[in-house]
C-alpha cells in the first residue's frame, strides 16, 4: 500500500490571496478604476482520499487513487479554478476616450481538483 504522506492543512488545494496593484506595474496613469483588484490563485495538494471539500471530479478521485498506488507513474490531480468572476476596468485610450471594459474570468472565487 502506498505510504500516505501526512498532508498539512496549508498544503491542501484552495484559493490563495493575490492582489494585483496596477501601480506596481506603473499603469495608474491610464487606468482610472479600479486601482487594483483581488485576482487570487489556486494552489495545493489533491491527496488521496479526495475529500468532498476539494470539489474533485470522479476522474480526479480515480487519479488520486492511482497516484497513491503508483506515485512515480501517475501524478496527483491539479488544483485549478472552478469558479471565476469578471471585473470591469475604466481607462483612457490613446485618443483620450474613456473606455469601460468588462473582462470575464479575472477573479478566482473557488478552486478544485481536476
Amino acid at each position: 500500500s502506498a505510504v500516505h504522506l501526512p498532508v498539512t492543512p496549508s498544503n491542501i488545494c484552495k484559493a490563495r490571496r493575490l492582489y494585483i496593484d496596477f501601480k506596481d506595474v506603473g499603469w495608474q496613469d491610464w487606468i482610472i478604476a479600479p486601482p487594483g483588484y483581488m485576482a487570487n490563485y489556486c494552489h495545493g495538494e489533491c491527496p488521496f482520499p479526495l475529500s468532498e471539500s476539494l470539489n474533485g471530479t470522479n476522474h480526479a478521485i480515480l487519479q488520486t487513487l492511482v497516484h497513491s498506488l503508483d506515485p512515480q507513474g501517475t501524478p496527483q490531480p491539479g488544483c485549478a479554478p472552478i469558479r471565476l468572476s469578471p471585473i470591469s476596468m475604466l481607462y483612457y485610450d490613446n485618443n483620450d476616450n474613456v473606455v469601460l471594459r468588462h473582462y470575464q474570468d479575472m477573479v478566482v472565487d473557488e478552486c478544485g481538483c481536476r
Binding site: 491610464w30 478604476a33 469578471p86 470591469s88 475604466l90 485618443n95 474613456v98 469601460l100 468588462h102 473582462y103
Partner: protein, 242 residues
Amino acid sequence: AEDRNTRERLFLSSLGLSERPQPAGSHRRPVPSELWRMFRRSESIQARDSDPCTVSEYGVRGNIIRHVQDQGRLVSGWSSSCQACLVKQLFFNVSVLQPVELLSLAQLEIRLHWKPLRPAGFLRGPRAVSMSLSKVIRATLRGADPQANRRLLLSRSIRPQLEPTAIAMDLTPLADIWRKPGHNYGLVVELSPPLSVDPDELTPFLPGNAFPLEEAWTLPLIEASLVVVSLNPHQCHSRQRR
C-alpha cells in the same frame, strides 16, 4: 527591461490592448457619469453573476463601452445661404475599435448648452431654433457647395431652455461604415435662428462675441459624444462553453 516589456505586452494583449495607452497630457477628460454608474454597478456582488458580455443599460451584447469624443470643429458662416447659422462638424474616430471587435451599438449624444443673457428673456417664451443633423457622404471640394455632400438625418425645432437640450440618435449602421478606411466624413450639425428674427441683429454665439441685448437667446454651445458598444469575441466565451 526587455523581459519586463515582454511581460507587459503579454498582459496587455490578454486585456485586448495592443500597447499601453498613453493618454495625452495632464488634462484628464472627466469620466461621463453614465460610465461611472455602469462601473459601480459592475462592481456590485450581484453583477458578478451576471453576464459581463451583455450591456444591460443598452440591451446589447458587448463587453467594451467607449465614450468616443467629438473631434470636429466649429464652422460659422459656412453655408452661403445662412451667414448667421451655427455650423458644427462632428467627427468620431471609430478606428479606435480593433478589427476583431463586433460593433453592437453607436449612439450619438448631443447636448446643447444654452446661455441665457437675461433669465427674463426665457420668460418671454423664446422662439424656437431649428436644428438639422446631416451625414457627410464625401469630402467637400474647395469651392463646392457643402450642402451637396450631405444627407439629412434629423431635423428638429428646439426651444432654448436653462438646462442643456439632450438629443440621442442610434447611428450604428453609419458607424459601421465609418470603420472602413476612407469612409468617415463625419456629421454636420446646423443651428439656424428663428425666421422672424432679422439675421443682421444676430451674432452666432461664438466665444468672445457679444450678442444683441434685446435678444435674450443665443446659439448654444454644442457638445457631442458617440457611445460605442462592441464585443471582443476572444474575450466573451458563449456561456454554454463555460
